[in-house]
């Protein structure tokens, strides 16, 4: 980290992100790790909006935003064209998108990028919903979470589905390096970015980035939230190299899921009478994540069956 910190900020402050934004912390770390010889293709979303409101830009690297769902494809075209022109030497390409741009609307383009084997680091900033449009549910929204399109009510306890397992979808494509990280551990995040960029071919890095207004916690708690997500095992932190889980973050003192859920308004309804079955399901998910072991990456987590 000390080494990375010496590098200048390539994502400059002065942007219009929310105070405490977990994504802004992570995005700045990504570029600190990557250095200045990168070209970034960015999907539509919070990150794009708060860093490039015309005529200002936070980016000290060449950066392009095209559409919501095509960052992986734009990056693919950049990589092949630069190689064809003989201008690829010493350049790294990063594609980055939110959870909606990755797991939902952009998954076709992402699959194409993986399958064709482009030399690109794809980063998913997962804040577990469509936060830029006002906290709607995505396929990476966790079970029980209140969003504006998965509201709790007389007939509902919030979001019904489990997080789509994008890291394993990447592994199934034969992606040689797949990892997860959070901004609570900058050293780990930076190491993973740098390691990924050393590897030829497609790389997938999945970052959990807490969202102050979307999750509903106090703005000084973003890093705490990211840490608790890992320490409760609701967000497992690991590395998968060539289909083998090579590293799983060891949690010295596992925390109960309630420690993570309670400070967040999106889970407040679960602590009312009747919410216990949903809490129990979240505990089960944490147990499944805690059981991830080193070795071949096979299915962990499961799709919730219909009631």
């Amino acid at each position: 980290m000390a080494e990375a910190a010496r590098i200048i900020n390539l994502m400059e402050p002065g942007h219009t992100g929310c105070a405490g934004c977990g994504q802004a912390i992570a995005a700045r770390l990504v570029l600190k790790a990557a250095g200045p010889r990168v070209i970034v293709a960015n999907a539509t979303g919070c990150l794009e909006v708060y860093t490039t409101t015309y005529p200002r830009s936070s980016w000290e690297v060449p950066w392009i935003h095209s559409l919501f769902e095509n960052a992986a494809s734009v990056a693919s075209g950049m990589e092949v064209a630069l190689k064809a022109m003989g201008r690829y030497e010493g350049v790294k390409i990063i594609a980055q998108a939110g959870d909606g741009g990755t797991a939902d609307i952009g998954i076709g383009c992402l699959s194409g990028m993986f399958e064709r084997g482009h030399d690109i680091l794809y980063i998913c900033f997962d804040n577990e919903g469509y936060m830029n449009t006002g906290y709607q549910r995505s396929s990476l929204t966790p079970v029980g979470a209140r969003t504006t399109t998965s509201p709790p009510g007389r007939m509902s306890w919030g979001n019904k589905t489990r997080k789509k397992n994008i890291p394993l979808i990447a592994v199934a494509h034969g992606v040689p390096y797949v990892a997860t990280a959070t901004p609570a551990e900058p050293r780990d995040l930076v190491r993973k970015v740098q390691k990924a960029l050393e590897i030829e071919g497609p790389k997938y890095l999945h970052l959990l980035v807490p969202c102050v207004p979307g999750w509903g916690y106090e703005s000084e708690l973003s890093v705490t939230m990211a840490r608790l997500a890992a320490e409760t095992y609701l967000f497992p932190v690991f590395e998968i190299e060539n289909g083998v889980i090579t590293k799983v973050k060891k949690i010295k003192e596992r925390k109960p899921v309630e420690d993570y859920l309670r400070p967040q308004r999106r889970f407040a309804h679960l602590f009312k009478p009747g919410g216990e079955p949903i809490l129990e399901e979240l505990r089960e998910i944490a147990d499944e994540n805690a059981a991830i072991e080193l070795g071949p990456a096979t299915l962990f987590g499961r799709v919730k069956s219909e009631d």
């Binding site: 990168v38 075209g77 064209a81």
Partner: protein, 386 residues
């Protein structure tokens, strides 16, 4: 040479850095030809196999943004799937060149030729050139890269599916040195480069969005002059005048002018020759450039003519043929000829010389402005009554 092969050869001669497409009938022969050239080492370009037309359009966008010369081709559903990216490429001023092998749009699904696909995205900000034959297709692609890169506006060359893409005609294929002299390497004034970082595609609010659209519009208006000039340069380099905004045929002294775009013009020329023998003074206006719309060229070509029939293979449902509407707009504020819309040849329905002659004869006897479908099968029109 098959039309698709002629286009593939033209694209090869333009030395693209990246070719990317997704297969769709009737565009496939073009990209098959290009992929074979790459496989054989005749074309040194990156060739990307996209997972969809949406992906293909996004990939050529990325290639163009880093300063590469990029090409794609599609048809019909593929073009509509690309639509979001098409607007984006044009708005970001990236000079991509595309072939649209014109085909009908679903539903019902139909793989045959009409021009509904390209006409439906006329407002995307792409220059749209409609070609009549395979030589014009070949020549127009070479001109397209020059036009696009000079203006930083993408160009779509529209050629009728099957009628041109799958039909063999003799074509003159220029040699590489000739094309290299005409089309210099692409050297953009801006591109994504770590040595000179800049931000592309930023969020623009009400304070500046409208001005960016205004600039694109004004450059599109100016493109008309560039398209004409590039056609002249092409003539000087290759000895053929295949290009420009409009063409006329037998229009001198005509009482009645038939208007269309694309391969139908060949059939129309034959029909007009026969009509002239019958004593009907009929001329032809070929609209080659649909966007930017060459309003003054159209106006000047048919000024003083009393009756105009626009024959087109598309329909703006609930109004009339789209080209017909554009023709009317060319006479805004002036006394207009009677301009009628004839919707024909949708979904690959054949348009015969006799049908074209009948349109002219009917207009001669009754010039009143109207909208008609021609060539409908009576036995399928009974529908509800049966």
């Amino acid at each position: 040479m098959e039309g698709s092969k002629a286009v593939a050869e033209a694209v090869r001669l333009c030395r693209p850095n990246l070719v990317c497409a997704y297969p769709i009938t009737p565009q496939t022969h073009i990209v098959e030809g290009l992929s074979q050239m790459v496989a054989d080492g005749r074309l040194e370009a990156g060739y990307v196999l996209a997972e969809s037309e949406f992906g293909a359009a996004s990939i050529v966008l990325g290639a163009s943004a880093v300063g590469g010369r990029a090409y794609t081709a599609t048809s019909s559903q593929g073009l509509l799937l690309m639509t979001e990216v098409m607007f984006n490429i044009a708005g970001m001023r990236l000079p991509v060149v595309m072939t649209c092998a014109n085909r009908a749009v679903s539903a019902p699904i139909n793989i045959w030729n009409d021009q509904q696909d390209a006409v439906s995205i006329r407002d995307s900000g792409w220059i749209q050139l409609f070609v009549e034959d395979n030589q014009e297709a070949l020549d127009s692609h070479i001109q397209a890269f020059k036009i696009a890169e000079e203006l930083m506006i993408p160009v779509m060359v529209c050629m009728d599916g099957y009628v041109l893409t799958h039909t063999l005609e003799p074509v003159d294929l220029p040699d590489q040195e000739e094309v290299d002299r005409f089309l210099p390497p692409y050297n953009p004034s801006y591109r994504l480069d770590p040595d000179e970082p800049f931000t592309m595609g930023s969020m623009v609010g009400p304070d500046a969005y409208m001005e960016t659209r205004y600039h694109v519009h004004m450059d599109m208006m100016e493109a008309r002059g560039v398209i004409e000039r590039v056609a002249d340069e092409f003539y000087r380099s290759f000895g053929r005048h295949r290009g420009g905004l409009v063409e006329t045929y037998d229009i001198e002294g005509a009482d009645l002018v038939l208007v269309s775009m694309g391969s139908l013009l060949g059939t129309m020329r034959d029909a007009v020759d026969e009509l002239r023998e019958e004593g009907l003074k009929v001329g032809i206006l070929k609209v080659r450039c649909f966007r930017p719309f060459p309003a003054s060229a159209v106006h000047d070509a048919i000024k003083g003519v009393g009756v105009v029939g626009v024959i087109e293979k598309d329909v703006s449902l609930g109004l009339e043929g789209t080209l017909c509407s554009e023709m009317r707009a060319a006479f805004c504020g002036e006394e207009s000829p009677e301009i009628s819309s004839f919707i024909m040849g949708l979904g690959g329905r054949d348009i015969t010389i006799e049908e074209i002659k009948q349109v002219a004869r009917d207009l001669a006897s009754n010039p009143a402005c109207r909208v008609e479908f021609r060539g409908l099968r009576e036995e399928l029109m009974k529908g509800d009554e049966g």
